[in-house]
């Protein structure tokens, strides 16, 4: 067979013909030549024959687990890829909003579907009680540490409802004023033995997101070193056996929730003390005070040092505990609630006294607080750093000072009562709960101010939700103005300082605030 007469163009056309890439007229031309040209036909057959040999290559087949692991890899990648970097609402893009708000549930559902199949199911069922409380156990140390937390009264679960009896103390009301309730959600896992069937039933009833979360915890649990897995199991067993297990478990969840609001650096400092309970507790106290001061500073929009905050808190505490004022509070608070207040520690009681006092005036004219005297104000002023003292002095007349003091008091109450706002929650609030126009207003602000306002709105909304209401547009505008309202409302409906206009207060008050007709109610009053 002599194919030497064939050119490269001939062969190129032959290959294209064999690949079905020639138009019909050219294909017909090739076929005609094949009938008359043996060498041409032989070349075509050789090209086709060697090409057909490729069929001797084995068809590759993936291993039995390939499909499952591939889908798992995708689902794990999905979980890891959403950014958890520093929160900056301005960086939120519409696509991210769509993905997070619409796609998340579906994607989580799918991820779970795959993970659920992939989990060693018996393991998941066996470890379910630990997985259900995984984060709490992860941070909870040991039973001894939880007992110390309880004894220190840091997360003692003291709630407004525990202090203030309501006219109809419905169960939902009891949790409605628990500052932790919102964080914990309604279904804090109860401790107790569960049969595999009960676990299966609970898993079956879970929503897609819960299942995804459970699968994620299983992943994390399995990734722990053996000794750490053992610690979690031991803690669970110890809580099961402890008569106070339920309470300690709740504390563990509260502690975990609080830890999740800390910066990475603060979390790391706590983690480094995990084997030194006393030092860890001291660090917790320190971090809480520091964060409370920071939050107070954000709320009052004045650069307040921790020392200033401490001075203001101590002044407010002394003010509440002053015998004359305490008598006034006691007159307005029911004996039962008063008795509960007395069982609280000195550090907390003043806050709850103010809150209770205000709560009792709900539905009627709010009760003004006893007016502090000049002597009181001077004492406070003398304990502050220059910057904050100047801010107080700059307020000018006594009425303005009282207004400022009222703002500080409300900020102090808010900073103590409201747990830190988790960045993710703040982000979700910005994304899901605010209208585009409110977001647009916020976006005009510098980042720090945006964050501050957003936090104020969030806290105010949380407070309103606990009271069974929600913010309306006018109230929102009050938080967006040049002088934003504070989450804890004024003691007076007209938005003025919550102190009495007249009256002796503690000691003399001279001169009394000038009488003026109450200003018209501000439309942005959150109440």
């Amino acid at each position: 067979m002599n194919t030497a007469s064939l050119t490269d163009d001939d062969r190129r056309d032959l290959v294209a013909y064999l690949d079905g890439e020639l138009p019909p007229d050219e294909a017909a031309r090739i076929e005609a030549r094949m009938l008359s040209d043996d060498a041409y036909r032989a070349e075509m057959q050789a090209l086709q024959g060697t090409f057909d040999l490729l069929e001797d290559l084995p068809i590759s087949t993936v291993g039995p687990d390939f499909t499952r692991t591939t889908v798992e890899v995708a689902s794990i990648d999905f979980r890891r890829r959403p950014s958890t970097s520093e929160f900056d609402p301005k960086r939120l893009l519409p696509a991210a909003l769509l993905l997070l708000s619409v796609g998340l549930a579906g994607a989580f559902g799918f991820a779970w579907q795959r993970n659920r199949q992939s989990l060693p199911e018996r393991e998941a069922i066996r470890e379910f009680p630990i997985l259900e409380n995984y984060d709490a156990y992860d941070w909870g140390g040991d039973v001894e540490f939880l007992r110390q937390l309880r004894d220190e009264g840091i997360f003692d679960g003291t709630t407004f409802a525990a202090v203030v009896p309501t006219a109809s103390p419905a169960p939902e009301e009891a949790s409605a004023f628990d500052p932790w309730a919102e964080e914990m959600g309604p279904g804090l896992p109860a401790i107790g033995e569960l049969t595999p069937e009960q676990v299966q039933t609970r898993i079956d009833r879970m929503g897609a997101q819960e299942r995804e979360e459970l699968a994620s915890r299983m992943d994390r649990f399995e990734a722990l070193p053996p000794e750490e897995r053992r610690r979690l199991r031991d803690l669970h067993e110890a809580l099961l056996a402890d008569p106070e297990g339920e309470e300690l478990l709740r504390l563990a969840h509260q502690y975990r929730q609080w830890v999740s609001t800390l910066t990475g650096e603060d979390r790391a400092s706590l983690e480094s003390l995990s084997s030194k309970n006393d030092e860890r507790l001291a660090k917790i106290h320190e971090l809480m005070k520091s964060e409370e001061a920071r939050q107070f500073s954000r709320l009052v929009d004045v650069e307040v040092t921790p020392e200033d905050h401490q001075a203001i808190v101590e002044w407010l505490r002394d003010y509440v505990y002053a015998p004359e004022n305490e008598r006034r509070f006691r007159e307005r608070i029911s004996p039962d609630a008063w008795a509960r207040l007395q069982r609280m520690g000195r550090d907390d009681r003043w806050i709850w006294t103010i809150v209770t006092y205000r709560r009792y005036s709900e539905g009627s004219d709010r009760l003004p607080l006893p007016t502090p005297s000049d002597e009181d104000l001077n004492r406070l002023s003398g304990s502050l750093t220059k910057t904050v003292r100047d801010a107080l002095e700059k307020a000018g007349d006594s009425a303005t000072k009282l207004r400022l003091l009222d703002e500080w008091m409300r900020a102090a109450v808010t900073a103590r009562m409201s747990p830190n706002v988790d960045k993710a929650k703040l982000e979700a609030f910005y994304r899901d709960r605010l209208t585009s126009s409110v977001r647009a207003e916020l976006d005009k602000l510098p980042p720090e101010e945006l964050h501050r306002r957003l936090e104020i709105i969030y806290l105010a909304n949380e407070r309103r939700l606990r009271e069974g209401e929600k913010l309306d547009v006018d109230q929102l505008r009050g938080y967006l103005g040049s002088q934003p309202n504070l989450p804890f409302p004024s003691m007076r409906r007209d938005g003025g300082p919550g102190f009495e206009r007249f009256g002796p207060g503690r000691g003399s008050f001279s001169p009394p605030p000038p009488f003026a007709p109450p200003p018209p109610r501000r439309s942005d009053d959150p109440e």
């Binding site: 024959g49 060697t50 040999l53 993936v62 591939t70």
Partner: protein, 233 residues
């Protein structure tokens, strides 16, 4: 029609559902419909796509010069990218072309990474589009290969594999896509980021090189199931 790893696939020109510039839900290919469901976070659709394409991708990626384990990793990486890109998927392209384009890019990146790590073998590095290694040399290098002996299917497969290995990476990929995926030149061009004309030249050289290396075995009838060319056609 050639048997493919995932089953027979019609050529685009034979598939009436591919006509039309703006495909609707009913007009697009079934895999593209599945991908649209993946875009909407349908877990089962994603799994089904993985099932449909895993062996097809693996076959092309493995025979195009990657080791078995590496090819599996590349397939997994391909699916991961498919998944990550699901929200931006548009059904105006044939799904198989899209997924093989991703696979090709994944494989190219892997080759670049290996090159940087100097892990490419000297043999593979010396391979060029126009300079195929001789089949005799390859056969001799493979111990136990006796030219006079009849080859069973497994051995024939190895021989073809050696011939294929002597081609350049681009020639291999183009050949495998046309052979196992029945891709048109247009689809190969899209997948490999080349012009149709370049693909035509690439495949022409690939087929000639393949013929040069395997023809002696075809002509001497040493393949167990080979038929004379005139009978095969």
């Amino acid at each position: 029609m050639t048997q493919t790893p995932g089953g027979a696939v019609a050529k685009p020109s034979e598939d009436p559902t591919l006509s039309g510039a703006s495909p609707t839900e009913s007009a697009i290919d079934p895999d593209a419909r599945l991908m649209l469901r993946v875009r909407d976070d349908d877990a089962f659709a994603f799994e089904e796509l993985v099932r449909r394409y895993q062996n097809r991708l693996l076959t092309v990626l493995e025979h195009s010069g990657n080791g078995r384990d590496q090819a599996e990793d590349l397939v997994q990486e391909t699916f991961l990218r498919v998944f990550r890109a699901r929200k931006t998927y548009r059904a105006d392209a044939k799904f198989s072309t899209w997924v093989f384009t991703i696979a090709h890019n994944v494989a190219k990146n892997a080759i670049r990474r290996r090159s940087r790590r100097k892990e490419v073998s000297a043999e593979r590095e010396s391979s060029t589009d126009s300079a195929p290694a001789g089949i005799e040399g390859l056969a001799q290098a493979n111990s136990g290969w006796m030219p006079a002996r009849r080859l069973d299917k497994s051995e024939a497969g190895q021989m073809v594999r050696l011939a294929l290995d002597s081609l350049s990476e681009r020639q291999r990929v183009a050949l495998l896509l046309t052979k196992f995926e029945n891709m048109s030149y247009q689809d190969v061009a899209e997948t490999m980021g080349l012009s149709v004309q370049a693909v035509k030249s690439l495949l022409f050289r690939a087929r000639l090189n393949l013929k040069a290396m395997l023809e002696p075995y075809v002509e001497q009838g040493r393949r167990p199931h080979s038929a004379p060319p005139d009978e095969a056609d």
